[in-house]
């Protein structure tokens, strides 16, 4: 599986997220200070743009109605006990560039609110 070069790290400010579209995938990448994390950009609740949310520890809070999603697993944490989740993507930094790995799966391509949580 290939790593895709996305952008310079300076383009994602500390503790903020930025949206990037790669093919059919709309992905939110977050700068956590010591690492970068990436999840699918659409909140499973109302498709809110998660890249525009406020980071809270290892989670992000959707700017529309406050659903809280884990940036590591993609699992929705608030409301509690929901089995909802978004997809998460492996991220790596090399020479000041953020790289993403997007598993090419025919069944998952482009559908919002994909349910492939492993958590």
């Amino acid at each position: 599986m290939t790593w895709i070069r996305i952008t310079e790290i300076a383009n994602i400010p500390l503790r903020e997220g930025r949206k990037v579209a790669v093919g059919p995938h709309e992905i939110a990448i977050f700068n956590m200070g010591d690492r970068f994390l990436a999840i699918q950009n659409q909140c499973p609740h109302g498709q809110g743009p998660l890249a525009d949310g406020i980071v809270s520890g290892n989670s992000v809070v959707c700017p529309l109605h406050g659903w809280k999603t884990c940036l590591e697993s993609g699992q929705v944490q608030r409301p509690k006990d929901l089995r909802e989740c978004v997809r998460s993507y492996p991220v790596r930094v090399e020479d000041g560039i953020v790289l993403l790995q997007i598993e090419d799966r025919a069944d998952a391509g482009g559908k919002p609110a994909e349910r492939m949580c492993t958590a």
Partner: protein
């Protein structure tokens, strides 16, 4: 039953009565107190002044306690004489009451140095509830306050006044602060911390005159220098109240002399508290007084046996963020005494242990007092420490708080004020089924004194009681468990200038969508430009200066002051709507025009094309000033509402507020632009303006309250500005004016804004002007973005077929 009369309704007297009640009911008790309050916790007056506690919170025994124990209470009556032959006391109300046993617990009085002018208006002491009330009334933002005395009391007073916004200077006679508790190095560390809190410290200053013509105006020192002051607190020490002892013919030295059984020279008269001298020592802290009370209770109830052997004075400074603890004897210049010291100037930590014959004789801790209970224990037990010398300063810190608690021996004192040991607490928990801190307080009195052991008590409960419930206090959120008031204060006094710093030091390091925007506002309010603006802590609206919509697009509302526009502006708006295919153009409820459904990338271009400033419609800030046409066109108009409204909007626009602030100005009471349901409204009438505040017409509907009526337009604008800045400073984040005015009450708001002394008003307006000067049109970021991708959509560096 024998009659017991108690003189003094203070801390020692009533605590002793509590102990007496624990023995069989033996007496018919009457307490005389010249204050008009039930028994309260004097120690916590510092917390009341610092706004951490309300006056009602510090009552120890309410009226119901006196009633249920059949104790007669005579408040507001001062005992002026004792006839020990006739066994009667005389009150200043003319009453004569006879006794079988008499208990004197009159405490002490502040010592006023003999300088001319001490009687001037504006000079205060800090000893009782009434004085604290008076200080709170007087201490206002911007006022110049001076405290004479750099001891425990003086510093706590200074801190309280500083929290109330006063500009505070501590004037101290000696060459270091708290010289009775600290050595020169400790004094230096403390001075630095006090100064970091924005309190000025003048050492080696002897006051020779208090200046002013009836009213306090300043102080003159021996070196000829002077200092201005609007308020002076004298905290230069205390003098035991022994007059009555003398009148009764008792043996009186500095205090009323008692023996180890707490008996005076008269077999039927006893004394306890600060008015007492035991073995040549007069105590000024509660822990010793409580120990005395226990012994006295045994003696007076016929159980003579326990003896009082004197106490080790241990003092803790009660200032949040400034940890100072001192106990025992610390002069290491005398022979046979050695000391161990640790210093970390960067962390502001200083520790000193003084050893004599291998035993601990004294401790000074500055900046880190976590081990104070251990040292106190060693002091009391007189344990031989020669073997442990290596570990004395760092007694093996364990990261697990529960373990720490487990390590403490049962005999160790947890609450120094009330002498409650760990064993007492654990057995009370088992015997009485205690589950909450409140129950623990009720049952053992632990943590009802100075409160510094509260967190220890909580850890202990957490460890011993499986179903322990934390007390719920009104905190901002779980990430930073402090009230907004505390946080505002911490931000100011600890000079915290970024949200992350607050979260790292006082919170969980993570923060959330609730606390981050609130902390952003606090930091901005306190430092007003002189801070690190952290966009990541703000809601998306405040990162891109537009209102996020349900589909992730944004809405754009330019400022249209007073709801007045021009044909040229309207044309530009129309052109923008065409050029960017804006899906909807709408006239809003606030007399301006909304462009809805705009993509983030288009925001800066649209702002540039509009050539109008941001209307702040997306943020907690100044929204708009609606106006009616007033005298300009309306046939009823009595005031020029349009010009006034535009001026008001110009003065306040671009500023942030705890919640959105909507305003309106109308030319007559017909109120066409609905001033009376706005956060701030001006209502014109023949020859004057009414300024109204706290109105709402949202989810809640509330008619605004009248702040003031003034004749001149300039004064109306000024009143609006005063309230506006006061709201900015005093309201909690997300507290609308309609909740704010109800919480504080209009009486208080008027007194602190439009009826405040001129210097206070000027200070409010100066702070407003400073914030205004630093504010800017948020949309100017179209040319100077906060970061390279503030509005730009990131494009991948390479494309791949997926």
């Amino acid at each position: 039953m024998e009659k017991l009369i108690v003189i003094g309704n203070g801390m020692a007297g009533v605590a002793c009565v509590e102990q007496i009640l624990k023995h069989a009911p033996k007496f018919d008790i009457t307490i005389f107190g010249d204050e008009t309050h039930v028994n309260y916790n004097r120690i916590l007056l510092s917390s009341v002044l610092a706004g951490e506690k309300e006056m009602d919170d510090i009552t120890i025994n309410g009226l119901d306690w006196y009633q249920s124990n059949s104790i007669g209470l005579r408040l507001g009556v001062r005992i002026t004489g004792i006839d020990s032959a006739a066994k009667t006391v005389t009150g200043d109300d003319g009453s004569v009451t006879d006794y079988d046993k008499l208990l004197i617990a009159t405490g002490s009085t502040p010592f006023i140095p003999p300088v001319p002018g001490a009687g001037k208006e504006g000079v205060f002491c800090f000893r009782n509830l009434d004085e604290t009330k008076a200080l709170l009334e007087r201490a206002k933002p911007g006022i110049k306050a001076v405290v004479i005395g750099g001891g425990l009391l003086g510093l706590e007073a200074a801190r309280g006044l500083q929290v109330q916004g006063a500009d505070v200077t501590v004037v101290h006679l000696m060459d270091r602060l708290m010289e009775r508790q600290l050595d020169p190095v400790g004094g230096l560390y403390l001075k630095r911390m006090i100064e970091d809190m924005n309190v000025k410290v003048l050492l080696n200053k002897s006051t020779t005159e208090i200046l002013g013509n009836g009213h306090l105006e300043g102080l003159r020192f021996k070196d000829g220098e002077t200092i201005d002051a609007d308020l002076l607190v004298i905290a230069a020490g205390i003098r035991p109240n022994v007059e009555l002892g003398r009148k009764a013919g008792l043996n009186v030295q500095r205090g009323i002399v008692v023996n180890d059984f707490m008996e005076t020279s008269d077999p039927d008269i006893f004394a306890v508290g600060e008015c007492v001298e035991h073995n040549g020592v007069v105590y000024g802290l509660v822990a010793p007084l409580y120990e005395q009370g226990k012994v006295l209770a045994a003696t007076i109830t016929g159980n003579r046996g326990p003896v009082y052997k004197g106490s080790i004075s241990a003092a803790k400074l009660k200032i949040m963020g400034i940890d100072v603890y001192s106990a025992g004897f610390f002069d290491d210049t005398v022979a046979g005494v050695e000391s161990i010291r640790y210093e970390d100037p960067a962390m502001g930590v200083y520790k000193k242990l003084v050893l004599k014959d291998g035993c601990l004789a004294g401790v000074i801790l500055v900046g880190d007092v976590t081990d104070s209970h251990r040292y106190t224990e060693w002091l009391k037990s007189g344990a031989d420490l020669s073997k442990d010398r290596k570990n004395l300063l760092f007694p093996g810190s364990s990261p697990d708080k529960g373990l720490d608690i487990a390590e403490i021996s049962d005999a160790e004192t947890i609450c120094g004020c009330n002498g409650v040991t760990k064993g007492d607490i654990v057995s009370a928990v088992h015997a009485k089924g205690i589950q909450t801190l409140a129950q623990l307080k009720e049952c053992t009195r632990a943590s009802t004194g100075c409160g510094s052991c509260t967190s220890m008590c909580q850890s202990l409960l957490r460890a011993v009681v499986p179903e322990f419930e934390e007390e719920r206090k009104k905190v901002l959120c779980g990430c930073v468990p402090f009230s907004q008031e505390n946080l505002r204060e911490m931000v100011r006094s600890q000079q915290l200038k970024s949200v992350q710093e607050i979260l790292d030091i006082y919170g969980n390091g993570a923060g959330c969508e609730i606390c981050k925007p609130a902390l952003s506002y606090m930091v901005d309010m306190a430092w007003c430009g002189d801070h690190e603006e952290d966009r990541s802590a703000r809601f998306i609206n405040d990162r891109v200066h537009a209102n996020i919509q349900r589909d992730g697009t944004f809405s754009v509302i330019p400022r249209m002051r007073g709801g007045v526009t021009t044909p040229a502006e309207l044309r530009r708006i129309a052109d923008v709507a065409d050029k960017y295919n804006v899906p909807m153009v709408k006239v809003t409820g606030s007399q301006r025009i909304d462009l809805l459904g705009v993509k983030k990338e288009d925001l800066p271009k649209i702002w540039a094309d509009l050539g109008m400033p941001s209307g702040q419609a997306y943020t907690k800030g100044v929204r708009m000033v609606k106006t009616c046409v007033g005298t300009t066109f309306c046939r009823f108009g009595t005031q020029d509402s349009i010009t006034t409204g535009i001026e008001l909007e110009r003065r306040l626009e671009n500023l942030f507020t705890p919640h959105k602030t909507k305003m309106a100005v109308v030319g007559c009471p017909r109120n066409c632009a609905e001033s009376t349901v706005k956060d701030i409204g001006l209502v014109g009438q023949e020859g004057s303006w009414q300024v109204v505040v706290g109105g709402a017409a949202g989810k809640n509907v509330r008619k605004a309250d009248l702040l003031i009526t003034v004749e001149e337009t300039a004064d109306a604008l000024r009143a609006a500005e005063l309230f506006f800045q006061y709201y900015r400073e005093q309201a909690n984040y997300l507290e609308r004016t309609y909740d704010f005015v109800e919480r504080l009450g209009m009486e208080k708001i008027r007194k602190e804004t439009v009826y405040a002394p001129p210097p206070v008003q000027e200070a409010l307006l100066t702070r407003l002007a400073k914030a205004k000067a630093l504010s800017k049109d948020a949309w100017s970021e179209r040319d100077t973005p906060a970061n390279p991708t503030q509005f730009v959509q990131i494009q991948p560096l390479e494309t791949v077929a997926l």
